[in-house]
């Protein structure tokens, strides 16, 4: 089975308190380490588990600048067989549509793949749009919010969302966007690191991909960020007076109103 896995380098979520917004509205991420998007690690773990059970190989794809090579090397150290970095000046400034276009072109160019896995959302922008859009570009089904994958004769996929759960039986090829709770990603072994250092990270430019320049990067992005602002989140405080019984009644009442306690 040929499996592709889409990974995105993101600023380390552990350091989000250090991100600020500059006066002209752009995000300042200086000094924050770049890591593999957390749910993409879960997608890779799922890909590796399927490969171990069913055989085949895993190729990771990322559309990112050249310096994101380390994240792909980490994916190889975890167990991926091949890594392809889609890096070109023309890809810069892409929204989800332009990103999914480039990823879909790469999946066609290096495919076909039986199964494509990705994280359900990125930690930095959280749009959750890219996996579905890749599915549209490739004309294959896409499922998001994947919480469990069972791979027997066919593929049984359990998805969860705020509204409930759904179970699908799907044919291949398919693209699945997995949630973080689906598994616990494996630790990187030192043997994996040595292998990663011997594995070529293939850098693919726009011309190798044959992509249409008007569909990539800023030019191919219908979404424009007009303004970025920091949400002012603070706790609502209220001073409650009276005897202990009154205060307890009041607290219980407030909790009920907030839906935290049932009647």
């Amino acid at each position: 089975m040929r499996i592709a896995c889409l990974v995105k380098p993101v600023p380390d979520p552990e350091h989000y308190d250090r991100i600020s917004v500059s006066p002209n509205g752009t995000l300042v991420r200086a000094g924050i380490p770049i890591v593999m998007n957390p749910s993409d690690r879960n997608a890779l773990e799922e890909a590796l588990k399927i490969k171990e059970r069913r055989g085949g190989d895993v190729t990771v794809f990322s559309m990112a600048p050249d310096d994101a090579e380390g994240v792909l090397r980490e994916a190889v150290a975890m167990g991926a067989d091949h890594a392809i970095l889609l890096s070109d000046r023309n890809f810069a400034g892409a929204d989800t549509l332009a990103t999914s276009y480039v990823l879909a072109k790469a999946l066609e160019r290096f495919g076909p793949f039986d199964l494509i896995l990705a994280g359900n959302e990125s930690a930095d922008s959280s749009t959750s749009q890219v996996p579905s859009q890749v599915g549209v570009w490739l004309s294959i089904p896409a499922l998001t919010g994947v919480a469990e994958i069972e791979h027997n004769e066919s593929l049984t996929v359990r998805c969860s969302s705020e509204g409930g759960r759904a179970v699908y039986e799907v044919d291949l090829p398919v693209i699945l966007a997995v949630k973080r709770g689906i598994n616990s990603p494996r630790y990187t072994s030192f043997a994996g690191i040595i292998r990663a250092n011997k594995t070529e990270i293939k850098i693919v430019r726009a011309e190798d991909l044959g992509s249409d320049a008007s569909m990539t990067g800023l030019e191919g992005s219908p979404t424009k960020t007009l303004k970025t602002s920091v949400l002012d989140i603070c706790r609502k405080g209220e001073y409650v007076e009276g005897d202990a019984g009154d205060i307890a009644d009041r607290i219980i009442n407030e909790l009920r109103k907030a839906g935290a306690l049932r009647e």
Binding site: G70, R73, E74, A77, Y187, T188, S189, F190, A191, I193, I194, A196, N197
Partner: protein, 379 residues
């Protein structure tokens, strides 16, 4: 550091944060060495960095080993001590073992399937190697060993130990010491008293008793009379930089915990980080960390390049272990009353730091090594 070493560091940090940090205080309190975690570390390659691939290791080297020890010690210096000592059993087999000995032991040790240790210290002393009383006599083709080793880390979890015993006297009448490989379960080879240590409590330390232990001649490691060379080489170039790397991890812990506390603690309406006196303490911890880091990785880089590093290792150990004590005391002071509460880890860091000083030779012994080398070179 090279990209490969940074990937190594990242892999160890991820493991340590998930598998070590949440349990470190409990292991310390219960004086428990978590063997299952050591085994997991072995499977990931953390215990075989100095073993070449042909013997089942990764061959990543001594700097990678120091990275493992630093990042594990960042959360549990005791667990790092157990891992550090495991390497003291590997190194002499790697350097002096016969091909048969290497094939028998190294693949199991590199993957943590077997644990190991080094047994040199006796009740008569640790640094005074030639004063040892444990004897090994060759009788009817067997080495018959009698004696007692003390303060041996991993004494109860090691499946195989490298030990040193007196095998006679040389032509000048000086004690002749030789090294042996001894496996757990060998008749007459027993575990003795378990020590209750001040710090590094997630490693176990105790006595090994040898009563008429009979070993095949093939258990001799290196040549007869190589004991001092093997023990001192291992302690001087692997044990001491290992202790320095553990101390470095403790310093890192002090630096990070101090900054975290100072950022969160509000005093007079502002975080502690706004107070210049607190900034000075953090600056001193940072300076100690950077200095210790350079010294540790200088020593291990020399070793990786195939050079001698005994003096540089002593410099690194002297500085790092004493700096770890300073940093722990300073961080406790920075945290005020919270610093002495056991719900915070810095009290443990201080106990661990103090315990690193005597392991592998005291600060005074380090000064003897460094001082005599300096005097010899500058004559």
């Amino acid at each position: 550091m090279a990209g490969e070493q940074e990937l190594v560091r990242k892999a160890v940090i991820e493991f340590a944060e998930r598998e070590v940090a949440p349990h470190a205080a409990e292991w310390d309190e219960e004086d428990l060495c978590p063997v299952d975690v050591l085994k997991q570390m072995g499977q990931l390659g953390f215990l075989g960095t100095i073993v070449p691939p042909e013997y089942g290791g990764t061959g990543l080297g001594y700097t990678a080993r120091a990275v493992v020890l630093e990042e594990i010690a960042r959360h549990s210096a005791g667990l790092a001590m157990a891992a550090m000592t495991h390497y003291l059993g590997i190194e002499p087999i790697l350097r002096y073992g016969s091909e048969e000995q290497k094939r028998r032991y190294l693949p199991k040790l590199a993957t943590g399937e077997w644990m190991s240790g080094l047994a040199t210290t006796e009740p008569s002393g640790g640094s005074d190697l030639s004063g040892q009383q444990t004897s090994a006599e060759l009788k009817d083709g067997k080495w018959v060993i009698n004696g007692r080793k003390c303060f041996i880390t991993n004494f109860d979890i090691a499946d195989v130990c490298v030990m040193v015993a007196r095998t006679g006297t040389d032509d000048k009448g000086r004690p002749e010491l030789s090294a042996f490989i001894i496996e757990k379960g060998t008749p007459g080879f027993e575990q003795g008293h378990r020590e209750d240590k001040l710090g590094l409590r997630s490693s176990s330390t105790g006595d090994l008793v040898l009563k008429d232990v009979r070993l095949d001649e093939s258990a001799l490691l290196g040549k007869r009379g190589d004991g001092i060379k093997i023990a001192l080489g291992t302690i001087g170039e692997v044990g001491r930089p290992g202790m320095a790397a553990i101390a470095l991890g403790i310093i890192k812990g002090c630096l990070e915990e101090g900054v975290k506390f100072a950022r969160e603690r509000i005093i007079y309406g502002k975080p502690l980080t706004n107070v210049q006196a607190i900034q000075f303490m953090i600056a001193e911890n940072r300076t100690d960390y950077d200095a210790a880091r350079l010294l540790v990785y200088n020593a291990t880089s020399l070793k990786d390049a195939g050079n001698r590093c005994d003096v540089e290792s002593s410099v690194a150990k002297l500085y790092s272990t004493e700096a770890a004590v300073r940093c722990a005391e300073r961080t406790i002071e920075l945290m005020g009353g919270y610093g002495v509460m056991n719900q915070y880890p810095v009290g443990r860091y201080l106990r661990d730091a103090m315990t690193t000083i005597s392991a592998g030779g005291t600060s005074q012994i380090m000064k003897v090594v460094i001082g005599s080398d300096s005097i010899r070179k500058m004559q």
